[in-house]
Every structure is written in C-alpha cells, then in structure tokens.
Symmetry: D2
C-alpha cells in the first residue's frame, strides 16, 4: 500500500506538466507566440526567444503546474467519457455558464498580479493563436480546460515581461536620471508644505 504522506518531488510535477501540454498538442512556442503578440505594442525590441524564456519560467511555478495537471486530467477524462453525469455532458460541451475552467486558470494567473488577470480575460474572450485552435466548440477533442490554461500561462508570461521591462528601464534610468529621483521628491514635499500652510493657517474671523 502506498504511503499517504509521501511527497511528490517538484521535478516530477514539472516534467508531468510539460508532458501533458505536449500530449495535448500545445508547444512552448505556441504559447510564446501569444505572449509576443500581447507584449510587442509595449516593447518594440521584444524577441521570440525572450518570450519563450518567459513561458518556460512561469511553467516552473507550482500553482500553474497544479492547475495544468488538474485541467488536462478533466479534459482527458471527459474525452474518454469517464466523468459521471451530468459533469460529463457539461465539460464535454464546454457550457458557457460553466466557470470552473476559468476559475482554475485564474487561480494560477493571480500570482502575476492584476495585469495578468486582465490579460487573461482578454485572451479568454478573443482566443488568439493556439487558444482559438483549442476551442472545444470548434475542433475535435475536449479542451474545455486547456484553452483557459494556455491563456493563463500566456497572460502570466506577458505580465512577467511587463514587470521585468520596467525594472530594466529603471536600471537604465539610474544612470541617465530621466526618472524622478529622491531630490525631486524632496523638492515636491517642500512645495507641498508650502501649499498646505495656507490651509493650516487659521485666519482671524473678525
């Protein structure tokens, strides 16, 4: 009998996640292409290599790995007709008001902040790239969870790039001082004190 408490090594979880995506026909490049399309408007120098690296990086996160494993398991069980009624029918038909797929994908996306959440919503509605091809209602097979999970990975990777770009811009600015620095803040606070004085001063009523 198996030991209930034995932990699964994260290396195994990561490997299983990558294999599951591959088995369902989704490559790192497919996802990186969505990231590229999402971030290009904000970053003219963006390369596909950088997007690939960002996708690989977010796929190392536990929350995303667990979400992917659960979602693909449910898709595959539905495809094989192995879920019990009425869940089988709901997942198989990718019902519009069934929201557990979005919920699981959202749970993973939160880790990358509110930009990731809005990007996810955008991808979920507009079904860019591989997300569109996976749409259960269009194609073959059941991908009720997978399309949302791919949107989740892409949104996370895009948000990661947005945050890193900002960090980079700041590092550069530290040399060139084009971003407001402490001396400016000090100046501003001085101005604020002056502005506030007129409010504070209680003028004689007479």
């Amino acid at each position: 009998m198996e030991d209930k408490r034995k932990l699964v090594h994260s290396r195994i979880v990561e490997k299983a996640t990558n294999e599951a995506l591959q088995r369902r026909g989704v490559t790192i490049e497919d996802i990186a292409e969505i990231v590229f399309e999402m971030q290009l408007p904000y970053n003219a120098d963006l390369s596909m290599d950088y997007c690939i690296e960002s996708v690989e990086s977010v796929l190392k996160k536990r929350e995303l790995q667990h979400a992917i494993l659960v979602g693909i398991e449910l898709d595959e069980l539905a495809e094989q007709g192995k879920l019990s009624a009425p869940l089988q029918q709901i997942v198989q038909s990718d019902e519009g008001l069934f929201g557990v797929d979005e919920t699981i994908a959202l749970g993973a996306v939160y880790t990358y902040g509110s930009i990731a959440v809005t990007t996810f919503g955008h991808l979920d509605k507009n079904k860019i790239g591989i997300i569109n091809e996976l749409d259960t209602k269009k194609g073959r097979g059941t991908h009720t969870f997978l399309d949302d999970l791919v949107a989740s990975v892409a949104a996370s990777a895009a948000s990661r790039i947005a945050h890193k770009s900002r960090d980079l811009a700041e590092a550069e600015a530290d040399n060139q001082q084009i971003i407001s620095d402490e001396s400016e803040i000090a100046k501003k606070e001085a101005e604020k004190i002056i502005t506030d004085e007129s409010e504070i001063k209680d003028e004689p009523k007479s």
Copy 2:
C-alpha cells in the same frame, strides 16, 4: 452519438449536487451548524432553521454547484486510484502546497463578496465541525476538495446572512430613524457648505 451542444438543465445540476454531498456524507444540517457558529456572535436571535434556509439558498447557485461537482469527482477518482500520476499521489495525500482545491472553492465564494472570502479563509484554517471530520489527513477516504467546498458553502451562507441582517436592520430603522437618513445628510451637507465657504467665498451676503 451524443449532441455536443445539448445543455444540461439546471434542475439536474442541482439534484446531482445535492446527491453528491449526501453520497460523501455531508448534510445540509452539518453545513448549517458551521454557519450558525460563525454568525451567532453578530446575531443573537439566529436560528438553525434560518441557517439551513441560507445553505439551501446558496446551493442553488450555478458557480457553487459546478465547483462541488468537479471537486467531488476528483476526490472520488482519487479514492478509486483512477487519476494519472503524479496527480493521483498529490490529491490522495492532500499536499499542503497543492492549491487547486482552495482555488475552486474560492471561485465559488467570491459570488458572496469579500466577507465570504475572509470567512472561507478562517474556516479553511480552523476546520470547524464537519470540515474537521472530512480532513483527508485525519480520516478515511479522500476529501481533499470536499473540505474546502464545505467551507465555501458555509462561508457563502454566512455572508448571505450578514448582508440580509443589514438589510433588515435598515428596514426597521426606516421606521424608527436610528440610522442616519436623508435629513441628516442634508444637515451634514449644509455644514459642509459652511466649512467650504472660506474656500469658495463667492457669494454676496446681502
């Protein structure tokens, strides 16, 4: 062959949800007892009947029904050893860092506002009543998802009571005027105008 687009009637989804809870040993009363314990400090007149009614009411919501059906399906599949590796081991052992159970339960709880979210967190940590009995790590069977789902239903029902109590208090206050009403606001706004006058200083007094 089955029609992919055929919708499942919500009556069937509701019935399946109630049957699934029953099959897993959770009664409406079990959940209502948690609600009662959570809300009693804020509401001395609270009755168990009212808590039962509130639990029954939140169980009519699609988001909660779908969450329960998915979660119990995964628990039962894990119990039967039918999930694929390594998900089987992760769910079966209710791993501390596996968060999809909380994510699915949280998704359902959001519908009842931020109070429901914090109540859910409290129940998830403190495992009151039936939630404690369901703890996979303690008892027999796999209830990795179910304990969180019960916390979700209880938190939703408790939040629903909190909101309804307030509505009731306001309705009563409308007769007795113990809560600030329009006339007070008018008075307050009048005061504000006076306070602001020194800034505005616009009108001739004569």
Copy 3:
C-alpha cells in the same frame, strides 16, 4: 463629535454612487451601450432597455457602490493634487504597473461569477465606448480608477444578462422538452451501469 458606530443607510450610499458617476460624466446609458455590444452576439433579441435595467440592477449592489465611491474619490483627490507623494504622481499618470485600480474593480466584479471576470479583462484591454473616452492617458482629467469601474459595472451587467438568458431558455425548454431531462439522465445512468459491468467483471484469464 460624530458617533463612530453610526451606520450609513444603503439608500444614501446608492444615491451618492449615482451622483458620483454623473458628476464624472458617466451615464447609465453609456454603460448600457457597452453591455449591449458585449451581449448582442449571444442574444439577437437584446434591447437597450433591458441593458439599462441590468446596469441599474447591478448598481444597487453594495460591493459595486463601495468600489465606485472609493475609486472616484481617489480620482478626484488626484485631480485636485491632494494625494501625498508618490501616490499623487502614480495615480495622476495612470501608471501601467499600478494595479489597485484593477484590483478594486475586480473585487466588485467577482460577485457576478467568472464570466464577469473575463469580460472585465476584455473591456479593460479593449476600452470600448465610454471606457476609451475616460482613458486618463488620452483625455483631460484623472480617470485612473473610473475607467476600470465602468468596465466592472458593464461586465457585471453583461454577466447578469447571460445568466438570466439561460434561466429563461430553461423555463421555455420546460414546456418544449428540448433540453435533456430526468428521464434521459435515468437512461444514461442505466447505460453507464451496463458499460461499467464489463469493467467490473473479472474475466477468467485462461
């Protein structure tokens, strides 16, 4: 001195919410137009009147009212230069990585389920109708919070229509029986038992 514990009547909160939207140049009709555009593809019979009613209905919810009051307050304080540094500069410039505006708006949208969340993300990215006009980076005034709040109200009202449409479709189906009902489920379960039997039966190996 004011009583700390005195509650503000929800009627006053509702009135203040509507006045705040009006003061900032957003009408119920502006929001209803977004709802109409979002839901028309799923509902050919949709009328503007129904969208207006849905917007009015979600605006009665406490979570949305509180979010709107806080967000507009912060926009107005920023416009008047009354926030302290560096928050003043962050809100005034509607910084891309500032996410509290999305967070507050999302908090209100959760009440309407995961469809509302994805719709919100879509609106936030694609800035349809009045949301585009409010964009701080384009126009005059500070609307860092307001554009997200309007997206939140629109997404909530659209999700409300989606759920109600389904309820209506089911009510109609109850007469015409085009949706699978209990007898079908029973039939399906019977089939499942037969299917399962072959698995259970342990065939002789010889």
Copy 4:
C-alpha cells in the same frame, strides 16, 4: 506643469511604503511576529530573523507597496475628515459590510498563491498581534485599511516561507532519497503500461 507620463522610480515607492508603515505605528518586527506564530507549527526550527527577512522581501513587491500606499492614504484622509460624505463615515466607522479594504489587501495577497489567501482570511478574522491593536473599532485613530494590509503582508510572508521550506526539503531529499523520485515514477509507469495493455493491445506487427 508636471509631466503626466513621468514614472516614479520603484526605489521611491519602496521608501514611501516603509515610511508610511512606520508613521502608522507598524514595524517590520510587528509583522514578523505574526508570521512566526503562523509558521511555527509547520517549522520547529523557524527563527524570528528568517521571518523578518521574509517580511522585508515581500515588502519589495510592487503590488503590496501600491496597496499599502493607497490604504494608508485613505485611513489618513478619513482621520483628518477629508473624505467626502458618505465615504468619510463608512471608512471612519470601519463598517462591517464595507469590503474595499479586504479587496485591496486580497489583491496583494494573491501574488503568493492560495495558501496566502486562506492565511489572510484567518488573520483577518482572528486579528492576531498588531492586527488586533490596529482594529479601528477598538483603538484610537482610523485603521480601516491598515489592519487588512498588515494581514496581507503577514500572509504573503508566511506563504513565502511555506513554499521555500518545501524547496529546501526537496533539496535535502535529493541526497537522501526519501521523496519519491524518477525511478519510482518509472516503476509506476511500467505498472501502468501493464494495466493498460488489455486496453491498448498493441502487438508487434511482424
């Protein structure tokens, strides 16, 4: 006139965040004590120094910094009576059904996964340590947002320790092999192949 697009350097945002906490009477140690209490049951070797480091680390995150700056600003404005009616009264009295404080704090906590969310809910309800002292309803001053923000920082730091402890345990296990590794997975997969054979029946063609 100020340039609308000028970005505030993250160093300034970080400094302002730390100053704001200090100004409102919350030290890193106060928060670390909550973290210590939360994580000790899972980690007997836990030191206060490690908790302090974890709090300092999460306070470097943009999402948390922005949340803290907005929340403390609203608390201070309410304390000074500078919010407009009825928000002034709602924030000042820390109304039970006002949820924007929890929403803002939750938005920051999501970055640390679902464990952080449930820990936040627990802290929000049970008001441990400094969170209790800050309770607006008990003490002097307005801390409607601050108590939730401190819970958010503590929950994030606790979740960060939980994830890091697991990483460490795995690193150790890599030497001692007490956690199931690839060879076990391989064995399991071999078993699975045998079980599945009757289904696959893919025999050599020769």
